[in-house]
Amino acid sequence: MNYIWAGLLAVGFLTGIINGRIDEVTKAAFSSAGKAVELSLGLLGIMCFWSGLMKIMERSGMINLIAKAVQPILKPLFPELENNDKAMGAIVMNLSANFMGLGNAATPFGIKAMEELQKLNGKKDTASDAMCMFLVLNASALQLIPTTVIAIRSDAGSAAPAEIISCIWAASLCAAFAGILAARLLKRIWRNWPGVGENARPAMAGKAVAVLPCNRLNAGRYGTAPGSIRPGSGSGDRPRKGIIKRTG
């Protein structure tokens, strides 16, 4: 995220200077910052409403029921979520809200899902494989009735605004499959060649191996060694010593 953010800003400002558009660029920076706040405020009410309903579902056991029902379908994609009804339930609610075109409801459920996934995550500042898979699925969200598209088509005077629905379904499915495949493949690449990941400095492939033990040390120090589920639960002395022994 650090590199992506810096890259967007740096390329943006440099190109702005070259193109002589620096005035517009600066204005855009401030107006987008304002827009982000507007967006969050708009999100606030919906977020409260659906988080509240989600709590009711949790207490009534509805989440567990839903999670159990779709477990067979989603299990292959999220192997680490077996018997975790809260995370699975939130993922299902998010995907089905997206599917029904209830974008407003989808976001709170998605965030809930992320919070549940974060509880299982060993490294709190790094995305887990389940999180990556979940976001990739979201990126190619399949929608039963793409209302926005149909609306702008009929607005533009189309003879048959809804005729492209089947095309949209097919393209969404292609995207979902491609995304799942890509996530699977990249997961292996990231694991086998740490030099590709953000932990190792690029162009220092030879030193990547030397960097690794430090990372492990850090993981111990911040109490995020693999296996510790609650934040801070691993911050005692024992995991740290264990790791120092192994690497030193």
Partner: protein, 179 residues
């Protein structure tokens, strides 16, 4: 006929879902209003947690777009896109789609206004718009909500899915409706 039935299903979906949730809560003797307010309070803190990362990402995207950097990339990538069968007119959308939802919508309205919604290009851009998401926004909100800094391969995989959906949109529209 078929569409109107589908549209009404989606219209009733929301109230029915809410009623089912409330009904199930009452049946299981959940103190539903207490549960609701408790959950809603959590919602407030979540939104506050997302705000900083949303400001960061949306500002960077705003700068990137206003500078004309995006247009430059469109020019560079158009030849490669035509190899995949993506029409050149649709290229601005392909690049804008992951970055900004409202700008994508504006591009699509512009294109179908110019070429007509029932033209080949018009159908392709509509299909693209419907089959992908605003990835950067989704990433900022979801990862921002739990404080993830290293997103690993998420963006790469999501952009691959996006590219495939663009190529698939062009291919499928050509197949179904002809060019």
């Amino acid at each position: 006929m078929k569409t109107s039935a589908l549209t009404s299903i989606s219209m009733y979906m929301l109230p029915v879902t809410i009623l089912v949730i409330l009904g199930a809560g009452l049946k299981r003797k959940v103190r539903i209003f207490d549960a609701f307010t408790e959950g809603a309070a959590e919602g407030v803190s979540t939104v506050i947690r997302i705000l900083p990362s949303l400001v960061g990402i949306l500002t960077a995207i705003g700068v990137f777009r206003a500078s004309g950097a995006l247009d430059a990339i469109v020019g560079l990538l158009t030849p490669a896109a035509s190899l995949l069968g993506i029409p050149a007119e649709a290229m601005p959308l392909v690049l804008m789609r992951p970055v900004s939802g409202s700008a994508s919508l504006a591009i699509v309205s512009d294109i179908i206004g110019k070429y007509g919604p029932d033209s080949y290009v018009g159908r392709v851009v509509c299909t693209m718009l419907g089959s992908t998401e605003t990835i950067f926004y989704t990433l900022a909100v979801y990862y921002g909500s739990v404080g993830i800094k290293n997103i690993r391969y998420t963006l790469a995989a999501a952009l691959i899915a996006d590219g495939v959906s663009a190529a698939a949109s062009a291919f499928i529209c050509a197949l179904v409706f002809g060019r």
